[in-house]
Symmetry: C3
């Protein structure tokens, strides 16, 4: 693992090793407005905000919470003293980065930085569901830029999103067991971000740590297991970062190729939306904590494969690499008019069950679903938990 | 597959191929009241209503939403233009059939047509949980009538339901891998309905399409896999049709019989209820989208097998064919005081795990749970997600 | 099975065999205040309260509900007449014990008896996550006392809990397939309680029945299957008793030992809290029925293993025995930066899948997750359903 520039601040579980010095000395008051972006960003990672649990009013986002100071640099050993918490029920991992509290946007939403800029001019585009071809060679080098961007998810809705590479979900990665993925994350966003690959066995304290605007971090890993794995930003509060759009899929093929098939990747995720500038809709942290999603969809757009279906031929084997990105809900994956001859609960090959109508993919998990298209027709694929399927987690597989 | 009368209107994913002509020309205003039932029904399938997402007031059901016109008949090829949507977040599959908007009942509920008629006189009856015997012969012909009916689910509650054959759930079907099921659906309800069998591998665009009042549709299928499968109405919005009572189970035995057992079928489902005419309770679409169920139960009645238990003998093997009809929640199936020696995650035989206390059956899915009654006693079976189990998903297995 | 003193009152599914005599003769009015504790407790089990479903106001806990009289003693055979229910939707198992309605505490919460006493002086302590060593011999005798107790779950929160042995969760039990566990439950709480072990195959009507204050019940069982099993109080309403803290884990090792590993037990559970006396927070039944939890955590304290991590060495195999106690939600268990080489879906050995990032443990269920610590670092383990993970279901595995 090599680092170009280490993110010296918050790591995956931000504040784990923090000790409080003065509960109020860094309170986010109006006097606390940073004098420069650099100072602001440095302070962003120092200041955090206690977020009360479910049902708390949005006013809970006011900067009255407890303040902590990151002392990670002072010692790697975990501090075993109990973290001091503010009033009410909250936890050390449910703090919202203070960057989110800037007066120019609604507190507690993703409408930060450039997320709402030029929103009216953002075009809709369908996300190609096809599994990308394996790259040549045994080492794949990737560069993801974390940045705020408006993303059009349907004709009437532009989401003020936090993204990898400007879209939700981020790029679909395809690699092979035993090959190496070297990934560089560069942060061009106001808020610190990081990159957690579920296909990697690696020390997250180093590889998955947060980087601030202008900085980069590079790490490499060699997947040990085949499967459909999630990646996501792991910066605290993780709920907010996944819920605002920072997730994607890495598909790992086994060394011995799976049977020939048409391979598609479906990443289910949720949006919890509130009004924001320029007619956009921003992801709302309080809604994530307290209510059902407004939209549940595959590959970032509600019903996109209803509007523009996935097309295959009679006789094709179809292999869906399904990832439940959440942040909170599973996918009860089902194809209307079909049955899966194989569902890989664990890593393929092996670990599969046969003859399945629907199976639950846990949030943060992935499974591979296979069927053979014996019959021509139009086969909707859905999240059969219909309170969610009804909100956009539906598409069409057309067999011609 | 043969059709007596094709349902020429909405198919499973109603409106997939629609193009809008005039956003307002068919708005469901008072001037829009049909002059005859025939005209009304034809228009019912033409008019649809955009339903905003979670948290929308019931007022959202007022006929101010976007209107679409079904042009399915104009071309089978999918329209790849993006569906135009109304204000706010909604999707092409979350529209409520305009028949539901008739002034004589509460908008957005199942209190349509005859659903509330003579409700006070409807008697309670326990649903027999026993798996029906396999019919003789290799072809089974069934006829389901879709109709509105009041269904008494306990002493004080009559639900204004949408049903197959007048009850919730619909009839339990038992067949065998390789045998043929020929099913005719006749619609005697105000709203279009359809029939989606999870045990069938068939083109849903034809077999599972909607039929209107007075029309029928016949299709046949030959199950390839054994298991406990759901069937349900697949007419949009599917959430509303399942949530209003239109579901059941088809149990498919393998060619080689499973070990002798006492076989029982348990279909878990949810009710989301609002007040309706004649003292009934109607299924409420907004509640389905936004809140927890009022009732969760097996075979359509809360606690019915507490009141009148399932009875077996010491030494019996008991096989529960468990289907989670939802529309939205899984079943964490558990038997108090017992452990499953076998849970068939996929199609039996094979695909089973041993020594299980509780396993999750995804909504839209089914699994088979087996145990051996070594001990006499009274063994509650429950959904161990107790916020739901507490609402009626509990019964008693008495071993004598 | 031997009983010291039989609990003669409510059994697991309280009120199953009840017949109503007079709907109002025992109404819990002010005139109905018991003259002595003994009389009160006897009446507590006789009186029950109908709890309406979701959305009911807390006022629903006022003593205006239907009243039933326990006639269990009058005949063991199940009464097959339909239970008579009060107005609205409720079920025979959703009644709150009337002891909970005493005027000195908030109705419908766990702030009963001594649950709030001396709360300010209760110290926080970390729950050791290590699997206890197997006891010597083939018979293990345990004695659990059911009692109300304030439990400090973090620096600012003391929960007025219902407990086994004064803590949440109750003691972790470790036994072996074929060995015998003999357990005595003594009730020192105001409310009747019971003890349901998922590792036991036994008649719950006798073994798991409720006992009242001062009484004891002893039963013994011999686990047939290895695995991570839940135990809990099964007194109606079960949702309230689990939700108030009465649960734990019994880990059953196979006769042939599993491969050497560092074994840890993680019991995930939820808190639904309301204000109570002495600055405590009490578990609130209406919140359990209607909303999301305030806290989700492992072993009873939010983020406790973030504050004081679990520590192992490079090269160790780590085996997590994960139990989802609920009362209502699953655990999507994941370790950041790692992958499970083995997840035992059913009883080990066998019934396992390989190469897993995240798997769903159903509420009321348990699974065993194994990984090998090839890499040094700090690996957060989480419930990857982040609306819940964010509320405290996170910890740290430090590999040194």
């Amino acid at each position: 693992m090599k680092e170009r520039t280490t993110g010296r601040l918050s790591d995956l579980v931000e504040g784990l090793h923090e000790r409080e010095r003065d509960d109020h000395s860094h309170a986010t008051t109006s006097e606390d407005v940073p004098q420069s972006r650099r100072v602001f960003l440095a302070r962003s990672s120092l200041l955090t905000l206690a977020i009360p649990g479910v049902g708390a009013a949005l006013a809970a986002c006011s900067p009255s919470g407890a303040t902590r100071q990151d002392t990670t640099g002072q010692g790697a050993a975990a501090d075993t003293s109990h973290g001091r918490a503010g009033r009410g029920i909250h936890n050390s991992d449910s703090r919202l980065d203070s960057a989110v509290l800037k007066p120019e946007h609604r507190p507690g939403t993703s409408a930060t930085g450039s997320a709402t800029q030029d929103a009216a001019n953002v075009a809709y585009h369908r996300r190609a569901p096809e599994l990308p071809a394996l790259p040549s060679g045994n080492v794949q080098r990737l560069h993801f830029q974390a940045r705020e961007a408006p993303v059009r998810i349907d004709d009437t809705t532009v989401v003020a999103a936090w993204t990898f590479e400007g879209d939700v979900p981020g790029p679909i990665v395809h690699t092979r067991v035993g090959d190496t993925v070297e990934i560089t994350l560069t942060n061009d966003a106001v808020v610190p971000h990081s990159l957690d690959f579920h296909a990697a066995q690696i020390n997250p304290k180093e590889a998955f740590k947060s980087v601030i605007k202008g900085q980069s971090l590079t790490f490499a890993f060699t997947p040990k297991y085949a499967g459909a794995f999630m990646y996501h930003c792991g910066t605290a509060p993780v709920l907010m970062h996944i819920g605002s759009g920072m997730f994607g899929a890495i598909c790992v093929s086994p060394r011995e190729p799976l049977p020939p098939a048409k391979d598609f990747v479906l990443v289910q995720s949720e949006f919890y939306l509130a009004g924001a500038a320029n007619g956009t809709r921003a992801s709302d942290y309080q809604k994530m904590l307290s209510t059902l999603p407004d939209v549940v969809c595959f590959n970032g757009r509600p019903n996109q494969y209803v509007k523009e279906p996935i097309r295959v031929k009679v006789g094709d084997r179809v292999r869906f690499w399904v990832v439940s990105a959440g942040p909170s809900h599973p996918c009860s994956f089902h194809v209307v008019g079909e049955q899966f001859d194989t569902v890989h609960l664990g890593s393929p090959p092996g670990n599969a069950i046969r003859g399945v109508q629907t199976f639950n993919v846990a949030p943060g998990g992935g499974m591979i679903f296979e069927l053979v298209c014996d019959v021509a027709g139009e086969f909707p694929f859905v999240n059969h938990a219909f309170r969610h399927g009804q909100k956009g987690a539906i598409g069409l597989l057309v067999v011609e």
